[in-house]
Amino acid sequence: MNLEGTTADEDKIVADIRELGELGLKENPPIRFAYEALAWGAHLDLWALSSIHSAK
């Protein structure tokens, strides 16, 4: 798998997901996001990693 163009950097991934949340909050009604660590994910491939990131 060619991973060029994406990063496993946790701070970047968390910042990206937080950006979704902030934008969703501005909608009326607010939009919620469900993050799913796919088993074939490039960097996050365990379900438990979803909860680690959503806790931040």
């Binding site: 991973l3 994406t6 919620r32 469900a34 799913e36 796919l38």
Partner: protein
């Protein structure tokens, strides 16, 4: 307990159309469905045969059609998914394109009457966001 039918897992968009899948989900006793982007983009071609995944008007028309089909069956729409290949993009332009796409998804979610978007973890190089180049690659591989 809430039971959801995942539309694309009921059959890929180009094999089973939504006006078949949604009534079947209703008859089978499901309370709601998860709407797949693939199904919406495919259904958009009903309204404009040249529609692609950036054709806002036809996709919104498809979303309205899906909402009406669900209303007939008394089905809720729990989530719109998958907002793919978003997280961890290193190219700021690629990231900005995804944020632009997100704003279309917000509009679609409102028409569908859902308040949730599912985001899967990054799976591929952003180059593969270009669906046509992906199809081209496959076509080339099998020639």
């Amino acid at each position: 307990m809430t039971c959801t039918a995942v539309l694309t897992e009921v059959g890929r968009a180009w094999v089973h159309e939504l006006d078949v899948k949604i009534p079947e989900a209703g008859k089978a006793g499901f309370q709601g469905i998860e709407v797949f982007w693939e199904d919406l983009v495919y259904a958009a071609k009903r309204f404009d045969s040249a529609a692609t995944e950036t054709s806002e008007g036809p996709i919104l028309q498809a979303a309205k059609w899906v909402r009406e089909l669900c209303d007939k069956e008394g089905l809720e729409i729990f989530v719109l998914q998958p907002f793919m290949n978003y997280d961890g993009l290193l190219d700021p332009k690629a990231h900005d394109l995804m944020i632009k796409k997100l704003h279309l998804w917000f509009k679609i979610a409102k028409v569908l009457g859902t308040e949730m978007i599912q985001v899967p973890s990054q799976v591929l190089n952003f180059v593969y966001l270009e669906f046509t180049s992906f199809v081209f690659d496959l076509d080339f591989t099998f020639r």
